[in-house]
Symmetry: C3
Subunit: 140 residues, 3 copies
């Protein structure tokens, strides 16, 4: 049994849920893990990680809209922390609600996601950003 750590960088084109399952699967496969546990930590406070439906892309658009309703953008009338723009504090709240870490078992050399599940990096800021995800793999 061994541990492997690493960092993957992703350039998000802007807001929304961006699929990262292929790059994660590739990273795990390259490390020849037959059985294991993959842990991900998004190293940011305005982008998050979530597992959601990989079929109808409308689900991702509706999720983004729902989160815009739960954590509205706003300036000084709404938030103390507003100097980084009206989307910033909203992005912090959205990140807390969706979470920055995930743990996914590995069995038979594959991430054991459900048939309709994909892993997404969720950009909550309005502009493109470079986002880093720290990885830990327990493997044998």
């Amino acid at each position: 049994m061994r541990q492997i750590t690493g960092i993957l960088s992703f350039d998000t084109p802007g807001p929304g849920l961006h699929p990262i399952t292929p790059r994660l699967s590739e990273w795990v496969a390259a490390r020849c893990a037959e059985t294991g546990l993959l842990t991900l930590l998004c190293q940011h406070t305005s982008a998050s990680l979530t597992v959601q439906e990989n079929a109808d892309p409308d689900v991702r658009l509706d999720l983004d809209d729902a989160f815009a309703g739960l954590a509205p953008q706003g300036g000084p009338e709404r938030y103390r922390h507003h100097l980084e723009g009206p989307d910033d504090m909203a992005a912090h709240i959205r990140t807390v609600l969706s979470g920055v870490h995930l743990s996914i078992p590995v069995a038979g050399g594959r991430l054991v996601l459900g048939a309709w599940q994909g892993v997404y990096l969720w950009e909550h800021r309005t502009g493109p950003h470079r986002r880093r995800i720290a990885l830990h793999l327990l493997a044998e």
Copy 2:
């Protein structure tokens, strides 16, 4: 130290938080884990996992109501993704808000939950469903 993976299936009778601590504890005990880490991944996008109060069942009813308010059911007037019924997109949002994975330390042969904590599989669809939870146990 060793790793054990597996799948547990649960038939949810309908919406709400269904206790799964007893089956998890039994699964861990059967694997003779004295010290370890149990990781759970619900392999669905409209059912989630959460740790909540195991005493007053009203807490679970209030949680379900609160989530109905945060993510209302709706048809095409509210969601792009509405063909699977008015409860489906709401269930996706609720699943993101509550999460699909948990990691629980094991010490002295037991899950180290707090005295008032139980683990729940939360069905967010209105009908009964068979739900699968992938398990990973690091144990010695």
Copy 3:
């Protein structure tokens, strides 16, 4: 490779996000973990764990306000579970929304948090409480 489990107790002075990164880092350093995975479980149902911005403290105040809006306090007119005070059921909802567990990779002897990330114990009750966090460290 070895596993270490433990408990850390924190006295929260009242509501809000209380920084715990220093005590976690110290706990990991004292166990001489060069590479590993730290898992935390808050053993309560009305206090949570989150990773958020460690720079501007206004972010934490805004987060607390946002959560007060998402899960309002209330008595019997709002919640079935109200006997422990108007803040209790709201605290349960807030705890579900923000989560009770975290997993953080360790590399080079340090928690691999992002530059702007801190770990917070979030007290959701209005009074001070003693809170226990169960720890699991996989280390070598």
